[in-house]
Structures are given as C-alpha cells and as structure tokens.
C-alpha cells in the first residue's frame, strides 16, 4: 500500500517539479529553435512512458500484493503482447529519431554565406581571430606559436596579415548573420559553449573543428568551457556580444590586425640586432 503510494508520488513529484520549478533552459539567442523543439518532443514521449510504466507498476504492487492464500498466475509469455510492445516502442523511438536526424543534417550543413570566425582556446582563456578585408583567414600552426604570435598565425601567408586578432578579449558578432565558428586549440581539449546558442563543439589541438549558427538576439552572453582542460577549467569563461550591424562595425574599427600587432615587435627586434 505504502509502496504503491510512494511510487505514485514519485511520478507526481517528478511531473510537478518539471512544471513548477523555475529551473529551465535559458531563452534561446540563435537559430537553433529546432533543437529546443526536438527536446520538447522527447520530453513528452519519455515523460509519458515514464509515467505509464511506473504507474502500471504501482497498480500491480497495490493490486497483486501478497494476500494469504493467493497464488500467482502462470503465464510464461505472450508473443502477441510482446510484439505489440516492440512495435509501439519502435514507433516512439522513430518519432524522436526522425526529427533529431533532420535537425542534425541542418546542423552540419554550413550555409555558403556564413562568415568565418576563429576561436582559439588555450589554458585558460579564449582568443579570437576574424578574417580581415580579404575575408580569408591566414594559415596557422601550433608550431608557430610564440609570445609575440600567440595564435600561431603563419607570417608568410599574405592572407593572414590583415586578420584581426583578439587575445583574451570579448568577441562581438553582428546579429542575423550566419557565422561558422572555426575552433582551434593550442594546448589541450576545450569546448566552446554558449548556453544561449545551444550549439557547442570540442576544440582539439592539431585540428580545426567547427559549428555554425545565426545569432538572433542582441545582448552579451557568457562563454563557458565545456571540456575538462585542467585546473582552470571551471574558470575559463569569456564574453560574446551580439550587436546590431553599426555597433559591430564600430567595434571592429578599434581592433588591430596581425600585421599591426607584429610590426612593433619586428621593429624592436631590428633595433636589438643593431650593435
């Protein structure tokens, strides 16, 4: 009796907690509303299954609990029932998988007009690089990383000279423009994660990974690292600001290019070389 009651309470409590508690995902700020929709579908289906199974169990416990002289039924199996349950389950699973795969195919297909933005992770800060006027990012390699060239941009590559380098600063993005985030790391695994954008992807040294999204809401959002990267992992935070086109361009004005950043040092090096 008490057992059945508590099982019912577990189901009710879970549902009530789900509905009433203030803890929920943060309002979305990107085009990935479909992901939220798939999540909702999944919640409905799984919630129904959970309630059905546990309530059924509670009923059994209540109805068939041991009574003096009672005897259990004898039924080794029921082909029909098992087949039906299999089919219903398969349909339910397909109902979650189909939208999931559909949205995933969008997630992995980057639109042609997406601008590239590079994120470079390092223990324990975020760096960014934007293509300059030529719209192209120059080559890079972890072997080229030095104190003066923290992102390892290839100085020989002309495409890299006008790249805008933001070391440990904030990233700004124009609203409603699709961006392809190119993700790189110069030391260990990191993961670029902004809860409002829904998307995330690991950054792997030696590789360039990516995801794409379109920011749909202005504001400043927190970047968190979502892949264990050592002691500072929990404190590896950053800021992404989504702005209107004008604000964005104004911000862009104030940034320096790779050439500008490396020029004074080259000068310094030349001076030093003089006796």
């Amino acid at each position: 009796m008490a057992v059945a009651l508590i099982l019912v309470l577990v189901v009710l409590g879970s549902i009530l907690f789900h509905i009433l508690s203030p803890w929920w995902w943060t309002p979305i700020a990107s085009n990935w509303g479909y992901i939220d929709d798939t999540l909702i579908i999944t919640f409905w289906i799984t919630g129904a299954v959970f309630s059905a199974v546990i309530l059924f169990m509670a009923y059994c416990v209540y109805r068939f609990r041991h009574k003096e002289g009672a005897k259990a039924a004898y039924q080794p199996e029921s082909k029909r029932l098992e087949w039906w349950l299999t089919i219903v389950t398969a349909v339910g699973v397909a109902a979650m998988l189909a939208p999931g795969l559909y949205v995933w195919s969008q997630f992995v297909t980057v639109p042609d007009d997406a601008t590239e933005v590079e994120v470079v992770g390092q223990q324990w800060q975020w760096n960014y690089r934007l293509p300059g006027e030529d719209g192209k990012l120059g080559k890079s390699d972890n072997r080229l990383v030095t104190f003066e060239n923290p992102l390892g941009i290839d100085p020989e590559d002309p495409a890299g000279q006008d790249d805008i380098v933001i070391e440990a600063g904030d990233l700004h993005l124009p609203i409603d423009k699709p961006v392809k985030m190119l993700l790189r790391s110069i030391d260990v695994l990191h993961d670029f994660y902004v809860p409002e954008f829904r998307a995330k992807m690991d950054m792997v040294p030696g590789m360039v990974t990516y995801f794409w999204f379109t920011p749909t809401r202005t504001g400043t959002f927190e970047v968190l690292c979502a892949e264990l990267c050592g002691t500072g992992h929990g404190y590896m935070r950053g800021i992404v600001a989504v702005e209107t086109e004008e604000d964005y361009l104004a911000w862009l004005e104030g940034q320096s290019t790779f050439a500008e950043l490396s020029a004074p040092q080259k000068l310094g090096a030349a001076e030093e070389a003089e006796p």
């Binding site: 992901i35 999944t42 068939f64 039924q75 389950t89 223990q123 998307a199 990267c229 929990g234 404190y235």
Partner: protein, 591 residues
C-alpha cells in the same frame, strides 16, 4: 580434430572432478586467504570492492560539499576537486561495480547456479583476485604519491591527462592510474575466462543454456563483452603510458603549454577517445547486464511468478551485448569527429533502446497477476525499475545526436549516468545482497534496518539525481567546482545544489546502517535455513548452508526444469526447484 573419447564417457559432465578430496583444503591459509574456492574468492573480491568503493563514496561527499557550499571548505581547491571526481568516477565504474558484479557475484553465483563444484580453473581464479587487489593498491597509492592522484577526469583524455596543467599529469598520479588499470585488465581477463568457460563447460546434467537463471545469462554475456572490450582500454592505456613516459606521440599533437613548445607532434587526441569509448560504452552494459539478470530473478522469486517472456529476455541480453559494440561514438558527438558519424551512431543508439525497453516491460509484466511479497530485495528491485527507466529515458535525449549538443558535458549528463549506471545497478546490488546473504552466511539480514536502508537510499538517491538534470538543463557544465550565479540561468541553482548535497550526505550515512547490518546479522540475524525465499534455482538447493568448498556434497544435482517454475498449476507448492523431477516420481537412486 577427432575426439577420441568414447561416447559413454562423454556423458559425464566434464567439470565433474573425480577427486573430491580436492575440496578439503588443508590449512587456514589455503581456506581463507590463498583460497581457490570461488565462494571465498567472491567474498574477497566483494570486500575489496566495497572497501575501495567507500573511498569513492567519501569522495562524493567532499565533491557535494564543494558544489553545495562553494567556498566553505578551503581544502577543496580546484585541483583537489578534479582529483576527487577522477578517483570517484574511476573507482565507482571499474573497481567497484565491475569487480563486484563479475568478480563478486559472478564468482559466487555462477558455479552454484549452474551446478558446478567450482570455477573450471580455480588457481587462475585465485590469481585474478590477487592481481585485482594489487591494482587497487596501486590505485590507492596514488593518493599518497607526490602530486597526488590524477585529476584528468575518469575519461583520462589526452593531451590534458599527461600535462602539467592537470593535477598528477606531470607527477605520479596518471602513471599509477594507467598501471593500475593495466593490472586490473590482466586480472580481470584471468577471472573472466573462468566465468565464461564455467558457463560453457561447467554446467551440470540437464542444465541447458535455456534453463539457466537470467542472472547467469547476464553475468555470462557481460563477461564475454568485457573480455572483448577491455583490450581497447588496455591499448589506450599502454599507448598513453608510452606518450607520457617514453615521449612517443600516439595521441599528442604539436602543442604549446604555458608558452612553451613541447616536443610532441602530429598525434591524435580523437584516436584515444575512440579507443576509450570502444571500451567505455560496452562497459556501461558490463555493469548493466548483470544487474538486468539479477533483478529478473529477484522479481520472479519475490513475485512468485515466472519471469515474463524468458526467451525474449535472453535474446534481449545477447542482442544488447552485441549491439553495444557499435554505439560507442555517441559519447563523441561534439568531440570534433566527422559529423556524418552522428547519423549512424544516433540510429544504432536509439535502436538499442528497443530491446532494453522490452526488458523493462517484461519486468513489470512479471508483477502483473503475481503474488508480490514486498520483501527488502523486492523493494530494491522495484527501485531499480524506477531509476533505470528514468535514466534510460534520459539516455534517449543524449543518444539523439542533435539533442545531445546542448546537453552534452552538462550536469544533465552527470545526472543521467548516475541514474542509469550508478543508482540503478547499486539498487540491484543491495537487493542481491539482501537476497543471497542468507545463503552466504546462513542468517537473514535484519529486516527493519533493511527497510530503513531501502527507503532512505531510494528516496534519497532520487532526490539527488532527479533535480540534477535540471541543473544541467539550465546550462551548468559538468566538472565545474563552482558555478556561482550567471546571467544565463533562469533561476540561481545554488539552493538546489545545497539541497542535493544534503540529500547526498543523508544517503551516504544510511549506507553505514547497511554496513552495520551486514556485521550485526552475522551474529544476531535470524537463522535462515537452506531456502528462505522458497526459490527454485540451484544455489538454494545445496545440501549444506552455507555451501562448503565443492558445493554439492557427494553428487552434483541433476536439473529437470528451467529456473522459473513458480506457481505452476497443479504443483504441490508454489515453486518447484530445478532439481525436482516433479511430476515424475523420483527414481530410486542407486546407492
């Protein structure tokens, strides 16, 4: 190869050992310490696993203290926190659950349930335990090594695992961890060969595969999977050890650490992840399948009803075992591997949900029109269903590639895997201990302590891990020693975290009642008799309780039926033991 053995001789089950005096050990040492009796080895395995598991439990308290009340405990630095989660996770998964289910329950139950006198290679079986003990000691030693244990997370992902930015990465921590894992795998392989081959070769007369209790099916399938999957962890560990100690670059790309170019180059961290999860996913089922098997027997026995759809249950176990080798990359959806793999692995992962769901249906259908005795083992079995269904369903979120993207690496994942492979199997372990303790010791565990233990553990664990999903939904990443208040939160999570921590401490202390019960009942428990639950399977039919070395006295039992003849119409009692020839009369045995 032609077998020259004459036919008549072959009818004698091969595992029957003619010299019974083998089972009369000579000294105290060979009886209790260097014992080759699977039952003693089982106790040794279990004792060691529980001992190191307690360490993991204490670590979880410390972690929860930090998460619930950040900043209150000065000694829990981020370094310490990462060391705690790593050791906690690794101990729980490998050294506690795997060792307990296979080394503990496998050793105790397989020979008894299939009617064997012992494992087929008792000496190798003994070695297996001692190597396991060594592995545990090496692991424990890392707590005292300079630099402390590794803090790389239980996944040990390179490059971070072997670099200075991670606790233990450039000290002894990671080396000891890898060595301990390698030892564990070697030890396990020795034991695993025994478990598998005993099931294949050691069954007594009449014990066909389809007459075996599901417990044996679960442990057997899990063992075979473990034998095939652990080599992947072995390869990963050896290669990482080479990278760390000998400077190879299997997994290490060119990288700059703290402004300094390291001499590594060209390697692939993703390669490690593939190897790790090729082991890691089957590992989930290595823990789950024995639990599936055991819980089926608990439900059937205490509901006095045959397990519903036995054949389907067997097939499901085997199919889940096979399928679980082609889903590993669902742990790597956001790892940077080629995105097209997502389609394949999401599909295989969700397909596995179908046989798993069938198992759940059959458990609850077994309750239908049963005669349910709400004993403590049964309560734990019910709790298993609740937590397993809950955790299994959240698995559908994480397996469905695009839904995983926002959730992966958040506390949602932590909540999910604790529910499904932490709480659920542990419920089964508790149920199993309450169930078989009378056979092992001859006495019942004290019931009121059991009830108390059950309610606190079940309600408490649910209170810990159900709300934790919502911490993840809010967006809090896992492996963060503190999150504070952040703009993205729809509501601050610190109260919720504090609540979870308090629940964790309460659940933790309830386990002390359980441990006390184990010891107390040894002396003061009710006498159990040979078959207190009136169960059918062979282990309850031993001539002596607790069963001695050799299990069966002079003659091994002969099996006449499957393991689930409960409430058979027309039978004199509501259960018929497997070695009972009813309705035929017992033929007079030749003296």
């Amino acid at each position: 190869m032609v077998d020259a053995t004459p036919r008549a001789e072959r009818d004698i089950p091969p595992a029957e050992v003619p010299e019974l005096e083998l089972y009369h050990p000579k000294s105290w040492w060979t009886t209790y310490v260097f014992s080759q009796d699977a039952k003693v080895i089982a106790i040794q395995y279990s004792g060691t696993a529980v001992a190191i598991g307690l360490v993991a439990l204490v670590l979880s308290w410390l972690m929860r203290l930090q998460l619930g009340f950040p900043g209150t405990f000065d000694f829990i630095t981020p370094e310490a926190y990462y060391q705690f989660i790593t050791m906690h996770g690794m101990i729980m998964v490998i050294y506690l659950l795997t060792a307990l289910f296979l080394g503990g329950f496998g050793n105790y139950l397989i020979p008894l349930m299939v009617g064997a006198r012992d494992m087929v290679f008792p000496y190798v079986n003994m070695l297996s335990f001692w190597i396991y003990l060594l592995a545990v000691l090496v692991l424990a030693a890392s707590f005292f090594a300079p630099g402390g244990p590794t803090g790389a997370g239980w996944t040990l992902y390179p490059p971070q695992a072997i670099l200075g930015g991670t606790p233990g990465g450039q000290d002894w921590g990671i080396i000891l961890m890898l060595v301990s894992l390698i030892l564990f795998i070697i030890g396990f392989t020795m034991g695993g060969l025994n478990y598998a081959v005993t099931v294949i070769q050691g069954r007594t007369r009449g014990m066909t595969l389809m007459r075996m209790p599901l417990t044996v099916w679960g442990i057997f399938t899990a063992t075979v999977m473990a034998l095939l999957a652990f080599p992947a962890l072995f390869v990963a560990c050896v290669m990482m050890l080479f990278d760390r100690v000998l400077g190879t670059s299997f997994f290490m790309p060119a990288l700059v650490e703290m402004g300094e170019q390291l001499s590594y180059g060209g390697g692939s961290p993703i390669l490690f992840q593939h190897l790790f999860w090729f082991f890691g996913h089957p590992e989930v089922y290595i823990v789950a399948l024995p639990a599936f098997g055991i819980v089926s027997d608990l439900i059937s026995t205490h509901a006095r009803k045959n397990i519903f759809g036995y054949r389907m249950m067997v097939w499901a176990i085997v199919i889940i075992g096979a399928l679980s080798f082609i889903v590993w990359a669902h742990h790597m959806y956001v790892s940077g591997m080629h995105p097209w793999f997502g389609f394949f692995f999401a599909t295989t992962t969700l397909i596995i949900a179908v046989p798993t769901a069938i198992k759940v249906y059959n458990w609850v259908l077994t309750l239908w029109r049963g005669d349910i005795h709400l004993t403590v083992p049964m309560l734990f079995a019910l709790a298993f269903i609740v937590t397993f269904v809950n955790g299994g369903l959240t698995g559908l979120f994480l397996g469905n590639v695009v839904v995983d993207v926002p959730l992966s690496d958040t506390m949602f994942v932590v909540a999910h895997f604790h529910m499904v492979m932490g709480v659920a199997p542990i419920m089964v372990i508790f149920g199993a201990i309450y169930h078989w303790y009378p056979k092992i010791t001859g006495r019942m565990l004290e019931d009121w302590m059991g009830q108390f233990h059950f309610w606190v553990t079940f309600v408490g664990s649910y209170a810990i891990f159900f709300p934790m999903h919502y911490v993840g939904l809010v967006g809090v990443p896992r492996r963060y020693p503190e999150i504070g208040e952040a703009a993205f939160m729809t509501a601050p999570v610190d109260n919720l975290n504090a609540f979870i921590s308090v629940a964790a401490l309460i659940v933790g202390f309830a386990q002390m009642v359980f441990l006390f019960n184990l010891v107390w009942s040894l002396r003061f428990g009710k006498e159990a008799g040979p078959n207190p639950w009136r169960a059918t399977s062979l282990e309850w039919q031993t001539p002596t309780t607790p069963p001695p070395h050799g299990n069966w006295g002079d003659e091994r039992p002969v099996v006449y039926r499957w393991a689930y003849d409960y409430s058979v119409p027309g039978a004199p009692e509501d259960f018929i033991p497997q070695n009972d020839p009813w309705p035929e009369k017992v033929a007079a045995r030749p003296a």
